[in-house]
Amino acid sequence: AQTVTQSQPEMSVQEAETVTLSCTYDTSESDYYLFWYKQPPSRQMILVIRQEAYKQQNATENRFSVNFQKAAKSFSLKISDSQLGDAAMYFCAYGDYSNSGYALNFGKGTSLLVTP
C-alpha cells in the first residue's frame, strides 16, 4: 500500500513570509497524482494544488507552489506571502489508478499557524 508521510506536525510562519510544508510518499507506480488539501476549522476539505506525476513542471496556483521531486518521492508545498487565512491543517494526499477506485491516501497533516 502506498504511504504518505508528513514529518512536520506543526509549523509557524509570520504574515507575508514564506513557509514550506514537507511530504514524502512511497509507491511502486509510475503514474499517479499528488494533492495538497487545506482543512480550516470549519472541517471543509479544500483542494489547494494538484500535481500529475508524468508532468515534470511543478504546479503553481497563485501563492501556492510545489516542489515535486519524483526520484526522491518528495512533494513539498510552498506558501508565499502568507496570510492569516492560510492558517489550517494541510494534508498531503496520493492517488493512483490501482488504488481502491482511485481513493486517496492521506498523510497525518501539518498544522500551520500564521502570526501577525
Binding site: 471543509q44 476539505m45 482511485y102 481513493a103 492521506f106
Partner: protein, 114 residues
C-alpha cells in the same frame, strides 16, 4: 451549486445504537468514498463505490456497511455503535477524466459514541 452534502453534521450515539450517515452529490460522479478522520490523523478509507450497485471495502470497513442504489446517494450505516467509532466522517466524490482526479468533500459529520 451543492456539490457533496452530508447529514447530519453532528450526532451523539449511545453504545449499541445504529444510525445512517447520509451523503448525496449532484455532480453525476461515478466514484464515491467514505473516510473517517481520527484526532491527529489523516483520513482513512472505510468504503468506496465505483458506480451504482458496486461497492467495496477500504482500509477500515469493520463495523460499517454501505449501499449505492443510485449515482447520487451513498449512505453509510453504523450497526451496534462502539466508542472506537467516535470520529469525523467525510463523504467524497470524484470523476476520473484524464488528469482531473480531484475529490470533492462534504463538510463532515462529527460522531460521538458514549
Amino acid at each position: 451549486n451543492a456539490g457533496v452534502t452530508q447529514t447530519p453534521k453532528f450526532r451523539i450515539l449511545k453504545i449499541g445504537q445504529s444510525m445512517t450517515l447520509q451523503c448525496a452529490q449532484d455532480m453525476n460522479h461515478n466514484y464515491m468514498y467514505w473516510y473517517r478522520q481520527d484526532p491527529g490523523m489523516g483520513l482513512k478509507l472505510i468504503y468506496y463505490s465505483v458506480g451504482a450497485g458496486i461497492t467495496d471495502k477500504g482500509e477500515v470497513p469493520n463495523g460499517y456497511n454501505v449501499s449505492r442504489s443510485t449515482t447520487e446517494d451513498f449512505p453509510l450505516r453504523l450497526e451496534l455503535a462502539a466508542p472506537s467509532q467516535t470520529s469525523v466522517y467525510f463523504c467524497a466524490s470524484s470523476e476520473k477524466q484524464g488528469a482531473r482526479t480531484e475529490a470533492f468533500f462534504g463538510q463532515g459529520t462529527r460522531l460521538t459514541v458514549v
